[in-house]
Symmetry: C2
Subunit: 239 residues, 2 copies
């Protein structure tokens, strides 16, 4: 028996691994969507849908880890295949963390559901932030499946839009809290929700870095360290 | 040539992998310590030490990933050794994220260094929180190196103390902001710092779960999902 059937079988298993991650990513993206809709539309049904889907995401994480580990053990892949599987294990962890953050948002959404609503414009902004973030989750998985470093690189730019929008929401909320201390608990709720969205975007960026590493063999994970240090110095010593 | 020398060599490499993670963990724990001291002692020197150590942590992450991946490729480990290496790769990511959070705390500490100080009791509480968290980082690495599931399990309990202390600090800060809106920016700074500490503790808990999985072969990662859902229902519908 020649090795061709085994090789084909292994390729099919790698494709299966990718499909599982895609399915999990789709579930996570829809949880992000529902978590914020639960807040802005005051829907307990949507909130409970997120909790139900979380169990599924958790199961998938364990299943994907097992599958990937078994692939390594039985196929003893080398070079690029090995790297693909290790990256899949990392993406799996990132997706599960995103799912946890969607659950955190949902918990916070439920906690304020019976309080008076905040200003509609704030909800519009946070919905916009959620849409950007959802799109990042889907785009980065597309980059992984296609092994397209260009898409992954573009995504690292759209992470900047998320940061800017989150900062704008944060500043707006601080100004409103200072004007009207009665809204502090609800404003903090929105502030933490927008930070959770930003963190989901950060996880998507982590995946983008892994995809670039996978495709190019270049590690871009810590490229931005030096820039951050400069920014900090600027914050600490304003002119 | 019999295989004994090769086996010994592999064991030595696994020990080396553990040592590298320990070294990285020690650096991360000291960064957590310094990040909060930079805030409460207003020390720019400590802050810059954290930034310098971050570069080292980032280098170590890449080096450990490479080392672990090479071990898998060259030694083709099976069963428990394979699991140990996959867990090491995951712990590596957790530690690097903790380091990033220490950097975030430090950036925020620098940003308020020239503003009036907050109440000393709050600083005492946040120092206490930082100590708990540092200790968790060191303890969980001890559990990993010794492959001791008992230590790992205890750690999951001390994560509860962290959550409680963080909640207490958060409530205190909300009360103070409502009384005196002028302190809102500084209070938010402390609130975000205490949440970052809590997130570091969460990463330590993630490692504890991996250690239990490694030792017992039991996956405890999502054991607490059902409990969380119940808590949420309680928050959403107060009696």
């Amino acid at each position: 028996m020649d090795t061709l059937p085994r090789v084909r079988h292994f390729d099919a298993e790698l494709e299966d691994l990718k499909s599982q991650l895609l399915e999990m990513g789709g579930l996570v993206a829809s949880s992000v969507h529902r978590s914020i809709l639960a807040l802005t539309e005051r829907s307990e049904d949507l909130a409970h849908q997120v909790f139900r889907d979380e169990s599924r995401v958790d199961q998938m994480e364990i299943q994907i880890d097992d599958f990937a580990t078994r692939l390594i053990a039985t196929q003893q892949p080398v070079a690029r295949d090995m790297r693909l599987i290790v990256v899949a294990i990392k993406i799996n962890t990132e997706l599960e963390r995103m799912g946890d953050l969607a659950v955190n948002i949902t918990e916070r959404s439920l906690a304020v559901m019976h309080l008076p609503r905040m200003d509609g414009d704030l909800y519009r902004q946070i919905n916009e932030l959620a849409s950007l973030v959802e799109q990042m989750v889907l785009t980065v998985l597309d980059a992984f499946v296609k092994q397209d470093a260009e898409i992954a690189r573009e995504l690292m730019t759209s992470d900047n839009s998320v940061d800017k929008l989150r900062s704008a929401i944060g500043e707006e909320l601080i100004a409103r809290m200072q004007k009207d201390p009665a809204i502090i608990p609800r404003a903090l709720n929105l502030m933490f929700n927008s930070r959770s969205l930003e963190r989901i975007a950060d996880h998507a960026t982590n995946i983008a870095e892994e995809v670039i590493f996978l495709v190019k063999g270049v590690d871009v994970r810590h490229r931005f360290g030096a820039e951050r240090e400069l920014d900090t110095a600027a914050v600490a010593k304003p002119a």
